[in-house]
């Protein structure tokens, strides 16, 4: 059997949007709260205004008070915002690369009109020493593209990540 073909989420997916899902702490999670904000743009540098962005993290561990998963809609200017708990370092991929620790990160999936299948990427956090040795970031060549996955800190506990679907500053997308 083959996996079912992906199809676009389309422009009317907001019928399933629950605006509360941007906040992964809404069930009362404990830990350091951080905001992850940003703007998504297309190949003409215009804001992507109808996308769904999903955030998934395995640290802290999922519990009744922390789903580890959030989803939000990009706004009329392409901006988005999540509130979550800061992740901890994670074990790396098994095998020959020596089980190097992964720097704190969250997985990101992007769905939109014009995307026939999701785009996957990650968000890392500026200032984490482990970013230098992260086994996934290390796979991105040239290294000059690695910062497209690293959110910059704009205030205490506030991070900003721009996502460019196409163009000179195009975000590095991942396949796994």
């Amino acid at each position: 059997m083959f996996a079912t073909a992906s199809q676009t989420i389309g422009p009317f997916w907001h019928l399933i949007d629950d605006p509360a899902w941007f906040d992964l702490t809404r069930f009362g999670a404990e830990g350091e709260r951080i905001a992850i904000e940003g703007r998504m743009t297309d190949g003409a540098a215009a804001g992507v205004t109808d996308a769904a962005i999903e955030l998934f993290q395995t640290s802290p561990a999922r519990s009744a008070s922390f789903p580890g998963y959030g989803r939000t809609a990009t706004g009329s200017d392409g901006t988005f915002r999540f509130v979550t708990i800061r992740p901890e370092p994670l074990s790396g991929p098994a095998g020959a690369r020596g089980n190097a620790l992964q720097a704190p990160h969250c997985g990101i999936a992007i769905f939109a009109r014009g995307l026939l299948k999701p785009l996957f990427t990650r968000v890392y956090f500026a200032g984490e020493a482990l970013n230098e040795t992260d086994p996934i970031l290390a796979l991105i060549d040239p290294p000059s593209r690695r910062p497209t996955l690293i959110a910059r800190q704009i205030a205490p506990a506030r991070y900003h990540l721009d996502i460019s679907l196409q163009g000179d500053a195009e975000t590095v997308f991942l396949e796994f």
């Binding site: 083959f2 996996a3 079912t4 073909a5 399933i16 026939l116 299948k117 991942l174």
Partner: protein, 234 residues
Amino acid sequence: MMIDTTPFRALTPDTQPPYLAPEYRSTVLRSPRSAPVAIPQTITELTGPVFTAPQFPPTDNLALTDGREALGERIIVTGRVLDEDGKPVPHSMIEIWQANAAGRYAHPGDTHDAPLDPNFRGSGRVFTDQNGAYRFVTIKPGAYPWGNHHNAWRPNHIHVSLFGPGFATRLITQMYFPGDPLLDLDPIFLATPDADARNRLIAAFDIGVTEPGRALGYHFDIVLRGRHATPMEN
């Protein structure tokens, strides 16, 4: 909690659409120009969100809103969610949304000049059972025009969102209806190169699912990525 660290298999080429499909115009400025970077699956890709019915309450009858019946042809959609080895995907959340019988979404962005139905909101949520089976009741969505090209119409379809066991199994697709003449004209449907893969997006009419005097039945199985048979050495 036990974590299955067996990686998911790669998707089979041509059974999935590409990012850039110029006939579907919105892909032109939204598809990356660089190929994605292949990475090994780590805990972030091997595990996924878990949804439970108490926190995410199911709504399995889209044809009924506050006790009032929606306009349109009532249908039952049922099937199983399986992995590529045919194993059921149990207790997994499915989100569904669709246009009403006239081909209009209850969405402020839908400007199609077709009537809204106050008794149809057009979204639902169900969970697979222990055998991977799911079922919901709705009305058959209408076809609707869109701006992709001159005289462009989307075939009748229901949007379906699935999560499965890992972030790597996340899938959003569309269920189509048999015999729809618009399928062969639809650049979204046609973007998947493999004809068999396209045809698996079309539900089957099923007289066994059909309920006498009440609703036509359709069967639609959905397959998520399977895992490698044994953990990879790499």
